[in-house]
């Protein structure tokens, strides 16, 4: 029996909303796939779109950026900038042929533990469908 491909998803979560929402999912013992790992930043506005390119190079099969709902940013405007930046990064990646579904963005508030589970499940599923990312993966040389 062939082992099903387990994707590797890297996620950037803002401290005040999405990270708190993910914590709430934990407190509520909601279960979701284990394939997603979180990097905590203070605001989704901190996430440099070049991180997405870097993550794909390093071996991520999927990338997620998640922040506060527009208007609710703890720092007032950070997620507005994030929205604009990632809209363009998304277009750019799709334009060069990166499968849609590799890059994702979501708004998850501190009270949306259940939504976090759906987001993770959705993103992992999309990465699974797209398969292992090998379009511009950095291949490490084992000296």
């Amino acid at each position: 029996m062939s082992e099903q491909f387990q994707p590797n998803v890297v996620a950037f979560l803002c401290n005040w909303c999405s990270y708190a929402g993910a914590d709430l999912a934990g407190t509520s013992r909601i279960k979701y796939p284990h394939n997603l790992n979180v990097i905590r930043v203070m605001c989704s506005g901190r996430v440099n779109p070049l991180f997405v390119i870097n993550a794909l190079q390093q071996g991520a099969d999927g990338v997620l950026v998640s922040g506060c709902h527009p208007g609710d940013c703890h720092y007032m405007e950070g997620n507005f900038y994030a929205r604009r930046r990632f809209s363009l990064m998304n277009e750019l990646l799709e334009y060069v042929g990166v499968e849609p579904g590799r890059f994702n963005m979501s708004w998850v508030s501190a009270s949306e533990g259940a939504k976090w589970k759906d987001v993770v499940a959705g993103v992992v599923e999309k990465a699974k469908e797209a398969g292992p990312f090998d379009q511009f993966r950095r291949n490490k040389i084992n000296w």
Binding site: A25, K31, Y32, R46, F51, A55, G59, H74, M76, K117
Partner: protein
């Protein structure tokens, strides 16, 4: 000197919360092979005293200079463990937490998967902690003075509290007298206290208090700086009256050529004043002011042979040469208490406010029933010979509130109660009158409100549920066209007087304060508080607080409570004399910064500015972060194309290794 990172990794069982799903031994064993890891321990409860002791001992005995705690979420215990590090003699910012509980053991069902993920999380945390730097929270001093913008009841209350605590207050009011809208009210709900009686003592207090510098007829022109250190510039407009000499005898106003011909703002244009005036009899300061837009001497250059006011003034107080004065001073905190404007009923043309003189607003009726008003307290509609006493009186609630068509979706909170109060006052003054109130809802939520509403109905005021569609004239009467929705009966109610319960709106010049202080507006356009529940008097700008209706419609008790809250918040800063600045803030590498200004535009707090520096004789612009204002969001970092601005503890070079670990490890 050995500066190599010596990392201690502490894996917490958290009882069985983590250990049930994550193989702690496997994670411990794995961590011990990670580069630069000197010590790995696991323990049942890392946050407990013995757990923390383990860490402190290791820092001392093993010379650890970095710590990773693999346990619960940093949102839970980051501060706890920072204190542990500090107690162990290590800079508290050398800590990184690996969340293997909320985001691992509690959310996965397969032990192998959960353990594999925990190893990844710990690995990423180790990769980051290696690159963390020692950070120090600095402090700035707080100037022991406050600026309060607006001297209505909110500004007055906040001023008194702060002044009584022993701090200097600069109270700036743009009209000639303090008191605000509350001074225009007759009686207040639900107690029917006389508004002037409870307000005027506070007005006088504020004028004589040794710690309060009152500047009326003045506007704040500029505020720069940051919490603890605001530079304020106030323009004290020329009254053309010498405040030291004026005895407020009133002779000037009596003799003025325009006596009784200038509409009085205080009386909502229902009565008149002179071109030189006292806004109302109990005005504080009780000094006359010349209206520069109406005064004949100022607008035309001459007033007869000589101005009558000058001739009449025995104290020689009138001085047409007077200039505006600029006052500049420094404060540590600012309170914005600029109040509200009433909704302009002309925006509901179907109610005929501008057409019919017997359609008036609640505030206008307030002036009519007031003893210091244009009719001496008699409810008389119309002027001169045509003035009459109304018999059939209708109130319409929710005018300009809860109404998407005029852009005000919100409820103005006070209208239900002030309508009940005015209805009661009408019943009292005109026992023969029939009063009815057209309503959509009755919101009598506060202390004594429901009881007052009950009383008013028992006194004979009829409440009819329906929102009138229009008002038109039929003969001598006004007709209110409405459907009584409880009986499903269309009505055409013939009345003598319609009172529109107009709602509260943000000030028309609200934008000016926003530009001065970088405030934001809520969707209803009132000023935005930092957090709707936990920080209702704070704003996103440190050191700037809100009080009263400037933040949202509210009645007098709530306004006073909020003003006291704002004063208390300001006093926290003033009395400690110092304010701590966050450590995880941004900083600029001036060597690579090009001075493009992207970060300056992006920063929501205005914490970055371009400064000129001299680099080997050339003057160039680079960005510089004001540590006191930076909140550590990092939006500037992601926007910098040259990577010159970075955020401490969240630098690109600290995050990229995390990405590398999480990408490569499978």
């Amino acid at each position: 000197m050995n500066n190599k990172p010596k990392i201690g990794v502490y894996v917490c069982h958290c009882g069985v919360n983590i250990s049930k799903m994550v193989d702690i031994e496997a994670v411990t064993e794995f961590a011990s092979h990670l580069p630069n890891v000197k010590v790995v321990r696991n323990y049942s409860y890392m946050c407990s005293d013995p757990g923390q002791l383990l860490m402190r001992e290791d820092i001392k005995n093993e010379g650890l200079n970095r710590v990773v705690v693999a346990s619960c979420s940093p949102r839970m215990h980051e501060n706890t463990f920072r204190k542990t590090l500090a107690a162990g003699g290590l800079n508290p910012y050398y800590l990184e937490m690996a969340n293997i509980r909320e985001q691992c053991s509690w959310v996965h069902e397969d032990r192998e998967d959960a353990t594999g993920k925990a190893k990844k999380i710990v690995s990423a945390a180790v990769a980051k902690v290696r690159l963390l730097e020692a950070l120090y929270e600095s402090e700035v001093e707080v100037e022991p003075a406050t600026l309060i913008i607006g001297a209505g009841i909110a500004g007055i209350q906040a001023a008194l509290d702060i002044a009584n605590a022993g701090f200097k207050v600069y109270l700036v009011e743009k009209t000639p007298s303090v008191g605000g809208k509350m001074s225009q009210l007759d009686k207040t709900f639900p107690t029917l206290d006389c508004s002037a009686c409870i307000l005027t003592p506070k007005m006088v207090d504020v004028a004589v208090h040794p710690n309060i510098e009152l500047m009326t007829y003045s506007k704040v022109e500029d505020i720069s700086g940051y919490v603890g250190n605001f530079q304020v510039k106030v323009r004290k407009k020329a009254r053309y009256v010498d405040m030291e000499k004026c005895t407020s005898c009133g002779a000037c106003a009596e003799e003025c050529r325009l006596a009784g011909r200038v509409p009085s703002e205080f009386n909502e244009n229902m009565g008149n004043r002179s071109a030189i005036y006292l806004p109302f009899p109990q005005a504080v300061p009780a000094k006359y002011t010349v209206d520069p837009e109406r005064c004949l001497f100022l607008t035309r250059g001459k007033c007869g042979k000589s101005p009558k006011c000058v001739d009449a003034c025995l104290a020689g107080a009138i001085n047409f040469e007077q200039q505006d004065e600029i006052a500049e001073f420094k404060v540590g905190t600012v309170i914005v208490a600029t109040g509200y404007d009433v909704f302009d009923a002309a925006k509901k043309p179907e109610y005929g406010y501008t057409e019919y003189e017997n359609v008036i607003t609640g505030l206008e009726l307030e002036r009519l029933v007031s003893a210091s008003g244009p009719t001496g307290g008699d409810i008389l509609i119309g002027k001169g010979e045509n003035a009459f006493v109304p018999k059939e009186v209708a109130f319409i609630k929710c005018v300009g509130s809860r109404d998407k068509s005029v852009g005000n979706e919100y409820c103005s909170r006070v209208c239900c109660m002030y309508t009940a109060k005015l209805a009661h006052l009408v019943e009292e003054k005109l026992p023969d009158a029939n009063v009815r109130i057209y309503y959509m809802d009755v919101r009598a939520f506060g202390k004594g409100f429901e009881e007052f509403y009950d009383r008013v109905r028992r006194e004979g005021v009829r409440y009819i549920r329906g929102n009138p569609s229009e008002i038109f004239k039929r003969g001598e009467k006004l007709v209110v066209k409405v459907e009584d929705t409880l009986t499903a009966t269309p009505l055409e109610d013939e009345v003598d007087l319609v009172v529109l319960a107009v709602g509260l709106e943000p000030r028309k010049d609200a934008r000016e304060i926003i530009d001065l202080l970088r405030l934001s507006q809520s969707s209803d356009k009132f000023y935005l508080e930092a957090h709707p529940k936990l920080a209702p008097v704070d704003t996103a700008t440190d050191g700037v607080f809100l009080a009263g209706c400037a933040q949202g419609p509210k009645d007098i008790p709530d306004t006073v409570a909020q003003a006291k809250g704002a004063a208390s918040s300001a006093l926290v800063l003033l009395s400690s004399g110092k304010v701590k600045i966050g450590a995880q803030i941004s900083f600029v590498n001036e060597a690579t910064c090009r001075g493009c200004g992207y970060c300056v535009d992006i920063c929501p707090y205005g914490a970055i500015e371009l400064v000129e520096i001299n680099r080997m004789g050339n003057i160039i612009s680079v960005a510089r972060v004001n540590d006191a204002l930076c909140k550590g969001c990092g939006a500037c970092v992601a926007g910098c194309l040259s990577g010159s601005i970075q955020q401490k503890s969240f630098m690109d070079r600290q995050i990229l290794p995390q990405i590398a670990v999480l990408g490569v490890m499978r």
